[in-house]
Symmetry: C2
Subunit: 507 residues, 2 copies
Amino acid sequence: MNENMNEKFEKLQPYLDRSVALGCALTLFNWDGETLAPRGAFEKTSKLIGALSAEYYRAVINDEVRSLLGELSAPKEQEKLTALQRAIVKKLLRQYEELEKIPPEEYQAYQELLSLSGQIWAEAKENNDFAAFAPTLKKIVSWQKRFAEYTKKPGMSLYDVMLDQHEEGILTAQLDEFFGKLRSAVVPLLKKVTAQNSRIDKSYNSRSYPVEKQREFCRFLAEYIGFDFERGIVAESAHPFTTNLHNADVRITNHFYENNLESAIFSVIHEGGHALYEFGVDDELTLTPVGGGTSMGVHESQSRFYENVLGRSEAFWKPLFAKLKETWPDQLADIELSDFILGINKAEPGSIRTEADELTYPLHIMIRYEIEKQLISGEIEVDDLPEIWNEKYREYLGITPENDKEGVLQDVHWSTGSFGYFPSYAIGNAVAAQIYAFMHREIPVAECLEKSDLAPIREYLRKHIHRHGCTKNMNELLTEMTGEQLNADYYIDYLTQKYTGLYLSRQ
Amino acid sequence: MNENMNEKFEKLQPYLDRSVALGCALTLFNWDGETLAPRGAFEKTSKLIGALSAEYYRAVINDEVRSLLGELSAPKEQEKLTALQRAIVKKLLRQYEELEKIPPEEYQAYQELLSLSGQIWAEAKENNDFAAFAPTLKKIVSWQKRFAEYTKKPGMSLYDVMLDQHEEGILTAQLDEFFGKLRSAVVPLLKKVTAQNSRIDKSYNSRSYPVEKQREFCRFLAEYIGFDFERGIVAESAHPFTTNLHNADVRITNHFYENNLESAIFSVIHEGGHALYEFGVDDELTLTPVGGGTSMGVHESQSRFYENVLGRSEAFWKPLFAKLKETWPDQLADIELSDFILGINKAEPGSIRTEADELTYPLHIMIRYEIEKQLISGEIEVDDLPEIWNEKYREYLGITPENDKEGVLQDVHWSTGSFGYFPSYAIGNAVAAQIYAFMHREIPVAECLEKSDLAPIREYLRKHIHRHGCTKNMNELLTEMTGEQLNADYYIDYLTQKYTGLYLSRQ
């Protein structure tokens, strides 16, 4: 595969190929389970997933890989490697050190549990029945804590371990500061902004938008932002998500509600942003252990950059608004572009994270972050979650969710064992704002959008982020692009400017 | 898993679990490639499939499995095993002996080729360009011959090896006799029958049947014959097929043409028949190496039993015809049940196998059988195929295909390396007829159909065939059910009676 083939690295290659192939097989099972598999299949299929996870474990964790990684990490050997090979060794070593501490039978049992838990959560949510999910969630939390205990480094809390898995090096101390800063900026801004809300009528959004037309329009949007249908597909699932096997097989899903115009539109732009990241990974990297996006935070920066920074801007909709109105002439007859822009940016406390505007969004994340910290530290228990959830919503957003379906059961993440994931969304927003501040200096972003020419934007992101896969972490990417590490000020400035401009300067 | 756990068998269990899981992963990749994967993905995905195939190979072929199988085959150990365990050991041994003779790197290279060849064939067919497929087909033929050479037993031809893989023990000598008998019965019958064809007007079939209604009606039909949507799904693909992960995840596909009412209807009944087989496998067997249908021939017996023996009978349509007419009141306004039954059974030479009636169908199979024999023996070459194909069609059916798309490129099988598969269709028809002859004695088949109560038929097939998975081969199943091995006479009687009844006795 690589011209500059080092003999020791060559010995590692079969293990890389196996682990990548098994990883992709697990990805495909996951995709299939979310989109297509019959409901009655899960129990038996979970056995298959357990066995494949065990195979994956064996492909990565074994004496030969351990000894090869040891040799390849030595400074003398490192010199002989290409940059890509060094990145692969580094990544694999990190993964090895985490995984080897987990006994294989525990790893397999946990993967089997996870392959069932999504279904259990979905049914509990459907039936608004937290108690039906609680026993499974308790098991997941207990496994998560056990695994974190195995891999914990000195000075880290268990929750730090989970955070570190999602965003290398971004732990509780830094996040506490990040969210603290954010909260003191967002809360007063939100108060000022929502005082003006009576001006904004977005009742158009819940008129009837037949699903077939939504499907068509969303397909058009995906293509418009650069989704490559030759190398990707769009399907449907309860909760939109993105996954990929490699850079020539990238998959997003969407969902459609007849009485909600925005939901599918911004979901497809969001998932499309994730997809562009994976499409943009260099050919040399795809199908290697460093072939995917570098972290959840950077991934979310791309999806939210497309969804919010671009997708909720006036410049984005200027060339598209006529088409939108053509698609639904009756429903949007009385709506002007300026109404639409205000509508899609209306800031309003609500109980559902995925439907939140940009301003309340970080508050939803802070709630989850606080709850996860307490849950993992043992301060609170799984059974306390519904009550604490609702309390926090009253405290942060001034509302009480109507029920657990719209409260503690709303998100899939905990059912997949993804503790420490939620902060990625806020980090992603912050990274998006930081990137945007610098992108401006090289590209006339608004002009590109108004000309329907998104290629320069896509190419800029590809050059600075996408193509590198996970050979560089978030702070390395940001430092190279912007000269500094993650800095919440850009995010605060972005929100302040945007909402001041939209709501307050036009009074 | 099993109460009666033998210590040696227990040591085999992890290898069984791994091979089943990897086999299912490959099945899922195959399903995904046929139904959903983006066109641009194949090249990279083929690498994954190659690596997974290599994993599969390693899970089955290794020193420990070899030595365990050796020990477990000894008569003393056999006594200690349950019937299921003995069946698993027997099946695995057969697989082991075949696979171990193929060098692993050749196995992987061949699997990678196959994961690409489907796409190459599909494009060649689309473009009516045999030359674009020929180089790939040459490679496939050459690998197939090479592998057959490795595993050939004394007295077998290379083609015998391929036949034996699809239907244990049914080799050229027996098939020559089978087809010879069939040909001398079918050819004169067809001549008599087609002389009456001017009586039958099936122009209704090519009226306009909007696809959405077809989808609905076919979903209804699937459910009607017993397809369990809790444990199965129906999707779409260019060529309908059935696959499954286990007995709680069974998948069929269909295709729809606006100007062809029959195609989708009989495809869904056909694939539904395959699906019922896999749904019916015992829980104890599924997810083991003996968990699938026993052979292609027996599988086709089930699909063609539903499609033809049941699905093209008057009794089947009696309770359904009103619904069919309700679905398409304009298109079928002038059509009576008796017209429809004659229409769906009209015997007429044509160039496309999958659209052939029951009477010309075996002739399509004979053509492929003759060609495969000659191709594998080296009598003819890949480049000769289009010409020889057309010659045989003139000889057997009196027609010349319009082009290679409707000729030698029509079937997917060779692109998947499935030489020796086609005879299974004819064997399947014969098995279906033989089963039908005996089923009658226990179940009032026509009465069940007229009452829309298909459960007794399904249960009969489940009891005698489905539940056994591949613990018994075709002739064992037939002998237990009918007291004799495969006997072409039942098939000839069935065709003669059916077509005499339909065409000749009503004159």
